[in-house]
Amino acid sequence: MFLYNLTLQRPSAIYFAVHGSFSAPRAIELVLGRQTSLELMRPDDQGHLKSLCFQEIYGIIRSLKAFRLTGAKRDYLLVGSDSGKITVLVFNPSTYCFERVHIETFGKSGCRRIVPGEYLATDPKGRACMIGAIEKQKFVYVFNRDASENLTISSPLEAHKSSFICYGIIGLDVGFENPIFAALERAYDPPQSPKSLVFYELDLGLNHVVRKLSTPVEDDAYKILPVPGSRDGPGGVIVCSMQHIRYKSLQSNLPDHICPIPLRKDISQVRGNFIVSCALHRQKGLFFYLLCTELGDVFKLEMECTNNQTTEEETCVLKEMRIRYLDSLPCPANDMCILRNGFLFVASEYGNHGFYQFRSLGREQDFCCVAVVESKDTKEPVYFSIHENLENLLLIEEIESLSPLNCWQIGDFYREGSPQLIIGSGRRHRSAWKTLRLGYRWTEMAVSDLPGYPVGVFTVREQQQDTWDSYIIVSFVNASLILSVGETVEEVSDSGFSTNVSTIFVQLFSNNSIVQVHSQGIRHIRPDIQTVHEWKPPQDLQIQAADGNASQLVVVLSSKQLLYFELDETGMLTEIQEVELTKEESSAYLPCVSIAPLVSGQSKASFVAVSDGVSYYARLYSLKRESCLKPISLQALDTVASSLLLIWLNASTFSKSQLVLLIGSHSGIYIRALVDPITGALSEQQSRLVGTKPVVLQRIEIQGKPVALIVSSRSYFMYLDNQLLLQTLPISYERMFDHVVGFCSEQCPDGVIACCGSSLCILSFEEDRDLFQSSHLFYSDTQNGLYTPRRLIDMEDASSSSLTNDTTNHLKCLLTLEADQRIQVASLLSQDGKAPWTASEEEQRRGAGGYPIGSAGSWSCAMEEMNIGENSLKCALHNTESKEYISSICCIRFSNDADSSLYLCVGVVINYALQVTNPWESSPAKDNMPSDSIIFPRSEVRVYRWLNTSDSKKWEYLHTTVVQEAANPSMMEWSNYYGASHLSFHVASRYRNEIITAMASFQGRLLVAVGTSLRMYDLGKKQLLKKTQHPRATPYKITSIETCYDRIFLSDVQESVFLYRYSAADNLFLCIADDYLPKWCTSMCLLDYDTVAVGDKFGNISILRLPPEAGTLIEQDPTGGLWSKEAPHHFQLEACFYVGSVISCVSKVEWTTGDVPLLFYATLDGAIGVMIPLRSTLDMELFPSLELQMREYRPPLCGRHHLAYRSYFFPVRHVIDGDLCEEFYRLDLEQQEKIVKELDRSIIDVHRKLEDYRERIRYPYLPV
């Protein structure tokens, strides 16, 4: 098995954002750092963020900083990654990508404890940088310039200090004195050492670093910020700790200023208000910070200074420090940037990223708190009340984020013909269930009914320099309707167009004259000399097809003659040449013709594409003077062409354009070919079945970029994206189109006009994302959830055969499980769980406020019904007590139930407390707590029956079964007796984890995973009846169950997958197979009887298969494996691949009917990818060698080795990295040729192969 991995949707979580001028001097730009990729963005004049470049670095980004050499105009980008190298990047505006300037190795690769990369700090004057590790190591690099103004980097200077944990590094602003870096550090040896702020001075003269000074700070300090120095500010450091922020001056004689961090009213002082990110704005004479807390509150930190002129030098001294509340953002920020033009970019933690404008920088009435000098008592907490709505900030644009993507279901739930992805994303009060569909969506701007069925629709501008279209011409069989576009769209009669004929074509020429081609002739309207010229075809002949551009016009007569007109110097349309297309006179189909539009600098197009409507060919004719209307090339078709289109496609960031010929046929197939702009030779032909109707092709412009529309029973949108990949994506709209034309007006700048039957629709693209981004293929519909989504199950999954006779009017229903710790709302919900929120409450809840924070063991869980047809979410169940945690749900039809009705089993854990990362929270692991003080959880299964009567559809409660009693503390006594009290926490934590984790339906019975044990239950009258169990099915904790006939696949939280067989004769679970390697499974999906795909916490996707001989051995084993203590067989690793972030779901999906199923996966940070099985042995030879070549020609940007990266935890196996292969397009022609020479293929071959796999999920039909 070979798989081809492609990223469909890029990760949406942004961890780093830095601003600067990267592409040009004075440009205002942002670089966004995701887990494994870099993106350069620039806000346009309207404040919309546009992506300029996206680069996958094939490594983990751990820190990002921009710096600028003194006097330089552009910024460099400094990346701390997992490659063990420091990377300096510069943006190359000609190729539109980041390029390496310097890459210096300093350590091993990987995210290690003592290998620097985690922290980066630069000197504000760009003279040096410090790169630090979590523990011990820090390196300082000195930047300089050589004679030709190039950046040089020194060898590293060490500033190590062993057994010190570093919390952060900053570069202090000291003007042009020796650069000073400050680090927040704490030693772990001896234990309980105080936390201290350490200053490192780089002596530029002596070229070494000294640990200059170390001053103690609060023990709960966690963040340090540099304060602007030299002339602009007082210099020094701000230290953030849980309760307050402290300003420390570099001058030792000045006292510290301390300002308490204001708290929301419901937050305890002990918990504090944690500052997660900050941004500094600095301009001449003004600087301030924005601080964002973990609840999303944004504070402005103002510092007022006085200038002292006591000494010779002018020094700035802090007079007053204030903290002012600005606004509350919906989510806390991972990183923030204040741009020079007054915008604020917020990379949100779990929610849409925001681009804000400042309305004001804090008003008088906003809450404000002034710092005091050290000596006074500063322990008093300060409270503030939040703004319900944004008052000082204004949201300009949102970038949608799917992070954290926790769960999904894929399938054609809406019966649309192609599958949708329903995902649970977001967190807590901002959670959402989103339906993702491939492609784009059109929104209806206006619909109007027409008197008849139109045969064509056209739009035309009045003058070349106009931005908006002036007329819409709707053509009927024997008349034309002329509509003028202004404030409204109205019918006009004085436009000069002929209305009593059927219009075939309309064009505005370069001299602002308009031509209207109709079946009876050509009407040339010349407003400049106020005349109208009419050209009539010879007697008894009609015009059947026409096309033109700003200076040329071609028409096809019913005698199958092609006539070519040009606009001459006098502005007259003159016939240049004519040619006979075919001898056959009559035909069932109309001919079609297309001429390429003029691109800038061109006065005439060189080619015209024609199909005569009879033969199965499309021909390309030359329009050059010397060879006018000579056939150049020919494309064979399966049937007669229905539409032709010549189009120049270009990526907005590149000047490189491609002339493409598109041919649509009456059988619903479209063929695409590249046209050589000089010779007219056709190459790279590709064909696709796009629908069941004859294909109509149209050229439109969106955001100033040419786009081809392919319209059949489905519509598609074809363009060249910023990565130079030709993308074809479906467009969704309820109705089918007959004719489409581009439309551009003030209300609808990127729209189309479409005829659907007898109505005319004006449609526009939803502009919620950058249309031309590759790997951003989905659009979404959102429904708000209650809490963080955890699980999503298909309610009809269990309905194997019996009860679903009425599928036609049965509403498809999905069940969602949402759960959150530490929020207190369970008691707020009404008892029956119906309509828990009113609309206004809903608004409030989703606003900045969120839920009140609860204690660690308090849970809020809900199960909601998602009715697909109604597009609604209804809360069906929720926990009534805060110590109840709903851990799993399962729909099942019990085999011993006579009615075979649908049951819902809900796994509830009582008294469950997660083991948390917080080192101070009491946990048995840390404190060796006496075991009798630990509260152990109890698990139970509650069973509900689906009541589907005419008057009520609801879950009716049946009974509760305790599946796991709370552990008895005395059970742990043995460990104390053994004299190993340190072991008691192992035992305790085991019992703490003995909770119900997963359930599944298996042969009409319920499988319940409780911690390590697997149990099987049957339905009883009073409770569930335990049939059998395996006490220790997996070593640590079962995370999910998949079943297939008699086999049960269990994934363990740590030890990969176990395969069990249920032996009905012995009523036992028998272990058949396990895995050699540990895997921290998060999700699993069954591929076939022997095979599963597993995604794990560290970002690996593996496919495990039971060896075929093992399968037969199991069948033949007379003991049935009863006597083997360990698993007799082991899974074979079929494929393994490192994705880069936590995998949250994997699913096998039948994306295209009749095609092989594809493996879809999603990561927690919102990326969606697909693994496609390679089709042939030829591909299996081609792709590995292409990948090999690509590794050589396009090595990862930050110096990680691609193969090592994809083999991060386990060696990569049988998976091709499609993302890397697709970068083939971005290589220049010379390199491409070198590669294909090695591969013994042609460039076209490689392109075609890449496209084949890329387009696999775009069409609902198999390739022809």
């Binding site: 979580a13 887990q35 983990i60 751990r62 997992d82 990987g110 995210c111 290690r112 404890r113 003592i114 990369g117 985690e118 979590i134 523990e135 011990k136 062993s162 057994s163 944990i165 919390y167 704490r186 772990y188 234990p191 966690y222 944690f274 500052i275 997660v276 990110s277 973990e294 806390p332 933690e349 779990y350 992070s403 954290p404 967190r427 807590r428 963080t788 959150d820 710790q821 530490r822 929020i823 997660l914 948390v916 990362t917 917080n918 080192p919 692991a925 840390k926 404190d927 060796n928 190993a980 340190h982 916490k1097 560290f1098 970002g1099 880069g1140 972030s1141 936590v1142 990561t1163 927690l1164 940070d1165």
Partner: protein, 95 residues
């Protein structure tokens, strides 16, 4: 110049231990070994932002606070070493 290979190995190991924090030695105590392992793991979690994401999403805290917790946990991830457990050998000698 023939050096004792045993000695050579020993000095190499010593060099490794001073250069790479966390390199074990034959007489390492259980507590030290576990502490080292836990420190290495936590450093990995901190390095991979999406793992911090995972913890934050599960615990219902912000990423910043989780990072801070993890950093603080680096100091004594396996409890204080005061209660250091006797190694097997020591236990045997005591008996």
């Amino acid at each position: 110049m023939a050096t004792n290979p045993q000695q050579n190995l020993y000095s190499q190991l010593e060099h490794l231990q001073s250069k790479y924090v966390g390199t074990g030695h034959p007489d390492i105590s259980r507590h030290d070994w576990c502490t080292n392992m836990a420190r290495d793991s936590i450093a990995t979690y901190l390095g991979h932002a999406s793992l911090v994401d995972l913890f934050a999403s599960v615990e219902g805290e912000s990423r910043g606070r989780i990072r801070y917790h993890l950093l603080e946990k680096l100091h004594s991830p396996y409890g204080e070493s005061k209660e250091r457990v006797l190694s097997k050998k020591e236990r045997l000698t005591q008996l």
